[in-house]
C-alpha cells in the first residue's frame, strides 16, 4: 500500500529539477548540438592525423591494425643529404596512405606503435559522410587534420612521463 514519504520525495525531485532547469543559474544539461558544440578533451580520439614528413612507410601501423584498415604504398627515392657534402639518402616516399574510417574502430594502436611520430589523434569528430566510400581518407585529407591536433597536456603531479611535442610547420 503506498505510504506517503517515498512518493512525496519523488515528486520533490522532479519538481526541483524543473525549477533548476528553468532558473537562469541552472539550465538544462543538454547542448543544442548544431548551434552550440561541446569541446572534447585534448586526448579525445576523434580522427587520426598524418604528419607525412615523418612517415617512412615502415608498415608498422598497417600491420598492427586489428581491422586491417590502413593501406600504405610507397616508392624509394633519393633525398638530399642531411649534412653538406654527404651522400644522398634513400628514403621511402609515400604514394598512398589511407585509413578507412568505415572499418576503423578507433583503438589507437597505430598511433601508439608509430616509431617516428607520424600519426596523431585529433579530437575533431565532424566528418560523417553520406556515402560510405567517402570515409576512406587519403593522405592529403589525413594531413589536413594535423592543424586540429592539440598540444599534449601536461601530466598530473607524481608522473614521470615526458610531455611529447606535436610537430608544427
Amino acid at each position: 500500500m503506498p505510504k506517503v514519504p517515498g512518493m512525496i520525495k519523488g515528486l520533490g525531485v522532479t519538481f526541483g529539477e524543473m525549477v533548476n532547469t528553468l532558473k537562469p543559474s541552472g539550465g538544462p544539461v543538454t547542448v543544442q548540438y548544431p548551434h552550440e558544440k561541446e569541446e572534447p578533451t585534448a586526448r579525445a580520439r576523434g580522427v587520426i592525423a598524418l604528419h607525412e614528413e615523418n612517415c617512412t612507410a615502415c608498415m608498422l601501423c598497417s600491420r598492427e591494425c586489428p581491422d586491417w584498415c590502413i593501406y600504405i604504398e610507397a616508392h624509394k627515392t633519393l633525398a638530399p643529404p642531411r649534412r653538406e657534402g654527404g651522400k644522398p639518402r634513400q628514403v621511402n616516399d609515400l604514394d598512398r596512405f589511407s585509413i578507412d574510417y568505415s572499418l576503423c574502430m578507433y583503438c589507437g594502436i597505430c598511433v601508439e606503435v608509430c616509431p617516428f611520430e607520424a600519426l596523431f589523434w585529433s579530437p575533431e569528430y565532424e566528418y560523417s559522410e553520406v556515402r560510405i566510400a567517402d570515409l576512406l581518407h587519403d593522405k592529403d585529407r589525413l594531413g589536413e587534420w594535423m592543424e586540429t591536433v592539440p598540444d599534449f597536456e601536461p601530466y598530473e603531479a607524481g608522473s614521470e612521463a615526458k610531455v611529447k611535442k606535436v610537430p608544427r610547420p
Binding site: 500500500m1 515528486l11 522532479t14 519538481f15 529539477e17 533548476n20 532547469t21 538544462p28 543538454t30 543544442q32
Partner: protein, 344 residues
C-alpha cells in the same frame, strides 16, 4: 439573465455553432496539453529543453508531428478485423468529444447544461473502454490483445471509485448539473466568508484525491499506464496503429486529459467562478473561461507531474489498490459527507 451572445439564434444555427466549437476545442486542447506538458514540462523535469527547432522555442513541434502522422500510410494488419480495427479510434474520439458537451466555462458558456451533467460525463467516458477493447481485439496482435484487456479491466475498476468520489460532491451540492455544482460552490461560504465561495476541495479533499487517482487510471497515465506499458507490451492496443488513426488515439488521450482536468476543476475547485464577483454577473462569461483554464492547467500539471515521476504498478496491484483501498475509502467518505450534511 446575462448572456454573452446577445443574439437570437435559430436552433440549427445554435447547434452548428456548438458543434463547431467542440470540433475546434478537442484538437486545440489536446495540442495545448501535448506541447505544454508532454514536450515542455516533461523536458524541464528531465533537465532538458524539449523540441527547439519547429517554431519559436519548438512550440509548433506537435503540429508538425500531427501533419507527419497525416502523411503516413494507413496500415491495417493482414489478419485484423478491418471494420472494427478502423472504427476503434473513432469510438475513443467520440467518447472524448461527448465529454466536452457538459463542461461549463461560464454562466452561459456551456454546450448543453444537462440536468444530469456529471452522470452523463461519467457514462460517456467509459465509452472509450469499448473503443480500446475493440482496438486491442481487432489488431490481431498478442500485445494489443493484452493491452486491450488490461485497459478494460483497469478502466472498469476505476470507474467505481470515480463515481463514488463524485457522489460526495453531489451530496454536498445537491445537484447533478455541472452548472449547479459550480453555483453551489460559488454561493458557499467558508465560516461566513463568502469571497472565494466554498470550493469543495476543502470539504471533499479525500474525494479529490480519490478522483485524481481514478482520473490518472482512467487516462492510463503512469503509474497506471499498464495498457500501453512501453517496456512490457510495447504500446499495448496502439501497436498496430499508424497514421491518422494513431493520431486519433493521441488526440483522444490528451483531449480526455483536458476534459477530466476540467471536470475536476468544476467539481472540486469551483469551476469558472471568479472570486469576489457575483456569480450571475456578465463578467463571469468573460473572465470565467480564463479562470477555468488556469485551474485546468493546474490539475493537468498534477496529472502529468505524477506521470513523469512514478514507475508503474503491476496489473494485480492496481486492482488491489482500486478495490481494497480506493473504494472502501470513498464509501467512508460518502458516509461522512452524508452524516455531516444531515447534521449541519
Amino acid at each position: 439573465m446575462n448572456t454573452v451572445l446577445a443574439l437570437d439564434l435559430a436552433y440549427w444555427q445554435e447547434t452548428s455553432i456548438k458543434v463547431l466549437v467542440v470540433a475546434i476545442l478537442v484538437p486545440t486542447t489536446a495540442l495545448i496539453l501535448g506541447i505544454v506538458f508532454l514536450f515542455k514540462v516533461m523536458s524541464w523535469m528531465q533537465s532538458r529543453l524539449g523540441p527547439q527547432e519547429a517554431g519559436p522555442r519548438g512550440l509548433l513541434q506537435l503540429l508538425a508531428d500531427g501533419v507527419k502522422f497525416l502523411q503516413k500510410e494507413d496500415l491495417v494488419p493482414d489478419r485484423a478485423d478491418r471494420i472494427v480495427f478502423k472504427m476503434a479510434p473513432m469510438i475513443v474520439l467520440i467518447s472524448t468529444v461527448l465529454l466536452y458537451v457538459i463542461i461549463p466555462a461560464g454562466p452561459d458558456l456551456i454546450v448543453e447544461d444537462l440536468p444530469t451533467g456529471i452522470f452523463f460525463a461519467l457514462a460517456v467516458s467509459s465509452l472509450s473502454v469499448i473503443g480500446i477493447l475493440m482496438a486491442g481485439w481487432a489488431s490481431a496482435n498478442k500485445y494489443s490483445l493484452m493491452g486491450g484487456l488490461r485497459a478494460a479491466g483497469q478502466l472498469i475498476a476505476y470507474e467505481l471509485p470515480m463515481v463514488l468520489a463524485v457522489v460526495g460532491v453531489v451530496i454536498q451540492a445537491g445537484t447533478l448539473s455541472m452548472q449547479g455544482i459550480v453555483l453551489a460552490q460559488a454561493n458557499g461560504e467558508i465560516f461566513g466568508f463568502s469571497g472565494f465561495g466554498n470550493p469543495f476541495i476543502l470539504t471533499q479533499f479525500v474525494g479529490f484525491f480519490i478522483f485524481l487517482a481514478a482520473v490518472q487510471a482512467e487516462l492510463t497515465q503512469a503509474p497506471f499506464d499498464m495498457p500501453v506499458a512501453e517496456s512490457e507490451i510495447v504500446g499495448g492496443y496502439q501497436v498496430e496503429y499508424s497514421g491518422f488513426r494513431f493520431l486519433f488515439f493521441f488526440l483522444g488521450e490528451f483531449a480526455t486529459a483536458f476534459a477530466f482536468a476540467a471536470i475536476t476543476s468544476v467539481l472540486f475547485l469551483g469551476g469558472w467562478y471568479v472570486p469576489f464577483v457575483d456569480p450571475t454577473s456578465d463578467l463571469q462569461n468573460y473572465l470565467g473561461p480564463i479562470v477555468l483554464f488556469g485551474k485546468i492547467m493546474f490539475v493537468s500539471f498534477l496529472i502529468f507531474w505524477f506521470r513523469f515521476t512514478y514507475p508503474r504498478f503491476r496489473e494485480d496491484q492496481l486492482q488491489t489498490f482500486a478495490w481494497k483501498f480506493l473504494i472502501p475509502l470513498s464509501l467512508v467518505n460518502i458516509l461522512a459527507t452524508a452524516v455531516l450534511k444531515v447534521v449541519f
